[in-house]
Symmetry: C2
Subunit: 178 residues, 2 copies
Amino acid sequence: MVAAAEVVHRQGVERTTIADIARAADVPVGNVYYYFKSKDELVVAALSEHTRQLDLLTDRLNQLADPRERLKGLVEAWVSQRDVAARYGCPTGTLAMELDKRDDGGLDAEAGKVMRLLLDWVEQQFRELGLPEPDGLALTLVGAYQGMSLLANALREPRVMDREGARLLAWLDSLEVA
Amino acid sequence: MVAAAEVVHRQGVERTTIADIARAADVPVGNVYYYFKSKDELVVAALSEHTRQLDLLTDRLNQLADPRERLKGLVEAWVSQRDVAARYGCPTGTLAMELDKRDDGGLDAEAGKVMRLLLDWVEQQFRELGLPEPDGLALTLVGAYQGMSLLANALREPRVMDREGARLLAWLDSLEVA
DNA sequence: GTCTATAAAAAGATAGAC
DNA sequence: GTCTATCTTTTTATAGAC
């Protein structure tokens, strides 16, 4: 399953065939359909895998006492993934974009939920810092991450992540608590 | 051709069949292959269409005397497209993401070039304003646009574009010239 | 140049042996 | 539960009449 999520991230949903998944998991094609009734079910599973990864990260960051340090830890986690982001984009962002193009019944909304999960966690940190409009700040921070990932990917330039990451860290430090 | 680019934007490259294009242009399928040797050629043409649209916009903005006003005009143009952005994402950004997933010979690099075109124009405006690190500022502005488009799309929430657009306008106003 | 019909390939899905 | 073989559908692409 972890392997499947990685292949989907690399190749995209539409270009990933069941045969690709089978090869990655080192099982025959027919076997895949024993675990997943359809390709759509497999995509849902890949999405769950991203949710799980996000939960692991936020659980780890929640150990930190200062909300500001949690947010800075988040940015550092993003930057540490600069090479994979430059090569394949943000996993959640690329998946959300692709699922949006599908006319299947509500699978696209599922991707939005993962993004919401991230936004909500970030908003909570800003709220704990006592800053005004924590939801707006969350949009700005997560939006900046999605944007820098896309640019790093389009330009094939991992350093975009370093540069924008440093700017975000400085920005977080500059915010005055109430 | 304009119709083709729109369909590709709405459905994505992979999910757009030649039949879809033919229907949009109101011609039979076989006809499409008279104008484009392959689907890849058609994608290249769609990309050129985006470049053309970008040229039209920057030409118009170049009429403005003040570089800062040009940049604000750019942001306003983005926000004015909020509904289409919330529904289908930024045309250039979504296309760049999708083409990146393909292993075709260098088609993905073409998408990067369109993004570069936009970044270069924005950087030039910051440069004319006499601001330090105009390339970094361009990354921040264009990245913010890509990010807000992706979030508006993932959340199906056009108001994200209004909110972040207003923030970007205020940011542009706040930058002190040398 | 335009259209219809059809070939060729790829991918999703299933049947059934083991 | 696992694997092979195969069916079905979809889509790209072409051949050839008009």
